[in-house]
């Protein structure tokens, strides 16, 4: 029997936590308590940063700024206005969150390098304001005489009591972050980080995930800042300077990104580093920089990642028991669905003068099996990209299930039931096949922060999604691979995992982009049989394929594209002999040859 303790790296983590707790207690002097308190403060800061940087994969450079703002708000409210901790603390959290919300509006839609600049700019302005707004912030001297934390009239004394309070809050923050990210929600972040287009195709709204992570990161930073102000008693613009940000980044990276435990370990180590490297005196920051550089080059997974790898190599774990397959139908199939499920009219798009699509008009009936063929570069994948919302057409309309979706975002189209697979694999290498497919349930289980929090101790959403995923894997004949990481799956299995993932959306229309590419004849035939069975269940399919022996018997109708234009349409037998199709594939002379 597998115990809870022996799963993953829980045992070494607990041992580590005990050792880290014992260190200040055994030393038992005021200085060791102070360092441990500071480590708790930084742990909160780094856990928050882990959410936006580690999980959301967005390089925010505002975490130090949010920390400083939280500290200043606490200092001003407590020292200048004499407010109690229970009043000032929530406001110290709210202020950076409010600022984050303002910055997020433009910044979070941006690619990583723009986000870095936008957040860096905020930090710079906040620092200048702290230095120059003397009346409020005390200018370069800062604010002194910040009272210690007082709870219900009793002051928390310095030393072990303060350390305990700070670490209790850090533990609560750690638990919240860990719980949030251990279920389906955390896996959405993982997919978005690795492949945001695949995430959108599953109905996951990248902007919303990033917003939630960004606001949460500000919340944690504000809490850390407030605790810092109260425990230090003084605050200066140094709290807003770049070294705080660098320290936080180094903690997240060195500890192990996308791991809450990594943030805590990084914080404890880096806070004690100057202590252990006393020889370096004030240049210990050089050691920070060097450690960051070494880890990012040699071990980008960080210390916790290294521990996990070590465990996997030395004591490989048995894969967990696969869940019982259980289909959970969520989407009701509209009885009076439109006569045409998908209608595309006059669709056109050009890339720098090259007309990739030039006036495509086609439609798909509910329950139909439609094949889309055409030579390489004829615009098949471009058409799928436009229909699924990755590209905006320059002209034309798209209607899906009676709705005009021409302007609709890709993730919303997926939620309407328009699913697709990708030509090149879009799976996350480290994720199991089961969880990859479970992610297809994200849109139906809820992709919001609230739904993640409501998911409960047992992560009900993930459990349901896995049950459904298991049934789909079974249906495609690959249940045996459920617990394997996608990166180690053979090509043909990967294709099926992707199909299963798209099916998990309970799509009204499933678009497959070359599902049989690279498959052997028997494998392709088996896949065809399974797709036919799905179609009998009422699924509508649009299949792009070059493999004619696979496609011809599968579909009822075929469309051929050439040079971005629709050149032929009809039953497979008609298309096979269609002169324009032969010309498109083989060229004019070949066509003449066929005639003779």
């Amino acid at each position: 029997m597998r115990g809870w303790l022996s799963t993953g790296i829980r045992l070494p983590l607990i041992a580590l936590a005990v050792a880290l707790a014992a260190y200040p207690l055994l030393l038992g002097n005021a200085y060791s308590f102070r360092l441990a308190t500071l480590a708790g403060v930084y742990a909160l800061l780094a856990i928050g940063y882990q959410l936006i940087f580690g999980y959301a994969g967005a390089l925010s450079l505002a975490q130090g700024c949010f920390f400083g703002i939280g500290a200043y708000v606490s200092a001003i409210l407590a020292s200048r206005l004499g407010w109690g901790f229970l009043l000032s603390f929530p406001l110290s959290l709210a202020a950076p969150v409010a600022l984050a919300a303002v910055v997020a509006l433009p910044a979070l839609r941006l690619e990583s390098h723009y986000l870095a600049l936008a957040t860096l700019g905020v930090a710079q302005v906040a620092l200048l304001a702290a230095v120059n707004w003397q009346g409020l912030t005390g200018g370069a001297n800062g604010i002194a005489g910040i009272p210690p934390i007082a709870l219900f009239g009793a002051r928390v004394p310095d030393g072990s009591s303060l350390m305990l309070v700070v670490w209790l809050l850090a533990a609560a923050g750690a638990f919240l972050a860990w719980h949030l990210m251990r279920g389906l929600y955390g896996r959405m972040f993982h997919l978005m980080r690795e492949n945001d287009i695949a995430a959108a195709a599953l109905g996951i709204d990248r902007a919303r995930l990033r917003l939630a992570a960004f606001l949460l990161s500000a919340l944690y930073a504000g809490a850390a800042g407030a605790l810092y102000a109260h425990s230090e008693g003084v605050i200066s613009p140094g709290a807003l300077e770049f070294p705080v940000m660098v320290a936080c980044l180094a903690m997240a990276v060195i500890g192990g990104s996308a791991r809450v435990s990594g943030a805590i370990l990084g914080a404890v180590l880096l806070v004690h580093l100057p202590e252990w490297l006393r020889v370096l005196e004030r240049s210990y920051l050089i050691a920070y920089g060097a450690a960051l550089l070494v880890v990012i080059i040699a071990a980008p997974w960080g210390l916790i990642g290294a521990l996990e790898r070590l465990r996997a190599r030395l004591l490989p774990e048995l894969p967990p028991e696969p869940p019982a397959p259980r289909l959970m139908t969520r989407r009701t199939r509209a009885s009076a669905e439109a006569a045409r499920l998908l209608e595309v009219e006059g669709l056109a798009i050009a890339f720098g003068g090259l007309k990739a699509l030039d006036g495509i008009t086609l439609s798909v009936r509910p329950g139909e099996l439609l094949g889309l063929i055409g030579p390489n570069g004829s615009g098949k994948t471009t058409l799928v990209n436009v229909v699924s919302g990755l590209y905006r057409p320059s002209a034309g309309r798209i209607r899906f299930a009676g709705q005009d979706i021409t302007e609709t975002a890709a993730y919303r189209r997926a939620r309407l039931g328009l699913a697709r697979s990708f030509q090149s694999t879009s799976l996350v290498a480290e994720m199991t096949a089961l969880d990859s497919v479970a992610l297809g349930r994200a849109a139906l289980e809820g992709t919001g922060l609230a739904s993640a929090l409501a998911s409960g101790w047992r992560c009900a959403h993930l459990a349901r999604a896995r049950g459904h995923a298991m049934a789909l894997l079974d249906g495609l004949g690959i249940a045996a691979f459920a617990a394997r990481s996608c990166g180690e799956l053979p090509h043909g299995i990967k294709r099926r995992v992707e199909i299963a993932r798209a099916l998990a959306l309970e799509p009204r229309l499933l678009i497959l982009d070359e599902p049989a590419a690279g498959l052997g004849a028997s494998e392709a035939a088996d896949l065809r049989g399974r797709l036919e069975r799905l179609a009998q269940g009422g699924l509508t399919l649009l299949v792009i394929e070059h493999n004619m022996p696979f496609l011809m018997p599968l579909v009822e109708r075929m469309i051929c594209l050439d040079d971005g234009r629709l050149i032929a349409e009809g039953k497979p037998a008609e298309i096979r002999g269609h002169p324009r199709v032969i010309e498109a594939y083989l060229g004019r002379t070949a066509r003449a040859g066929v005639r003779q």
């Binding site: 910044a107 941006l110 723009y114 230095v131 770049f242 660098v246 980044l249 050089i286 960051l292 030509q423």
Partner: protein
């Protein structure tokens, strides 16, 4: 008249900014990565000039070739540490490695030179020309002249020489350049050397009038980064022009309001520009092959 005076000051500051931004874009185009230590390389150049001036009490212009040379060597070391080990990883990894190197540079400077601001010699001695009501420092004119000469030299190198064509080919499409027999790795290393040399020159130019201190790079990277975003991600002339505009804006608004107001306003303009023309978003996310 006051505005004219400020414009002259702004142009001379902007000329130095332009060199920083230029180095930033050259590395960006060659590697696809942000060099976050661009500002710290300027600081390193400033301190190199300060140290050289202590050893050889010569005018700044005479020290310039030596600063360029030493900084190019630093650029090579920089690329070996921050870029080449990470070249097959996502650009964020390089971003972080350059942050790390920036921290190392800052604190090394702090350990060697101390935290106090230091001053490098003027390019051609300090002298004020009076022209009507204007007073123009010889240093300001020399900064503009030297920066213009370096920008021109970079342009000619890229536009007119075989080496420049190889550098551009590497930046445009590394795989194709590789296939054509261009030693792309050497070209990238050379780009880092060039960028560091330009940053070093900017350090020498700035360290007289504006002094140099270990944390100086922090503001400079924000300005350079902004210039590259406003000028169009990856555009060389855009970066130079935007750097000039940013410096003018900073100098003029600082004079009438305050440096804080100027920086906050500049930042607001930047955010607005990003909202209205989020080129990065559409340019990259959609251009990716799926």
């Amino acid at each position: 008249m006051e505005l004219l005076q400020l414009t002259i000051d702004g142009v001379s500051l902007g000329a130095a900014y332009a060199l920083v931004a230029l180095g930033f874009v050259l590395v960006l185009n060659a590697t696809g990565a942000v060099n976050f230590a661009a500002g710290d390389l300027v600081m390193a150049g400033g301190f190199t000039a300060v140290a050289l001036a202590e050893a050889f009490p010569l005018p700044g212009l005479a020290l310039l070739p030596l600063v360029l040379l030493l900084m190019a060597a630093l650029g090579l070391v920089f690329s070996l540490l921050a870029y080449f080990p990470l070249m097959r990883r996502p650009p964020t990894a390089v971003f972080i490695s350059t942050i790390a190197l920036g921290v190392i540079l800052q604190n090394a400077a702090n350990a060697i030179f101390g935290a106090a601001p230091r001053k490098a010699p003027a390019l051609l001695g300090e002298h004020l020309y009076h022209l009507g009501g204007l007073s123009i420092g010889r240093q300001s004119l020399a900064i503009v002249a030297v920066a213009a000469a370096l920008v021109l030299a970079q342009h000619l190198l890229f536009a007119r020489t075989q080496l420049g064509r190889s550098l551009r080919a590497t930046a445009q499409d590394r795989e194709t350049a590789e296939a054509l027999g261009i030693p792309t790795l050497r070209m990238i290393a050379l780009t880092f050397m060039l960028a560091a040399a330009l940053a070093g020159a900017a350090g020498l130019l700035l360290a007289n009038r504006y002094f140099v201190e270990p944390t100086r790079g922090n503001e400079l990277i924000v300005s350079a980064y902004m210039a590259v975003v406003i000028g169009g991600w990856g555009s060389l002339p855009g970066a130079v022009l935007a750097a000039l505009l940013i410096a003018l804006f900073q100098v003029i608004v600082s004079a009438y309001a305050s440096y804080t107001t100027a920086t906050a306003l500049l930042y607001a303009v930047l955010l607005a520009a990003l909202v209205l023309r989020p080129k990065g978003l559409f340019g990259e996310a959609i251009g990716r092959r799926v």
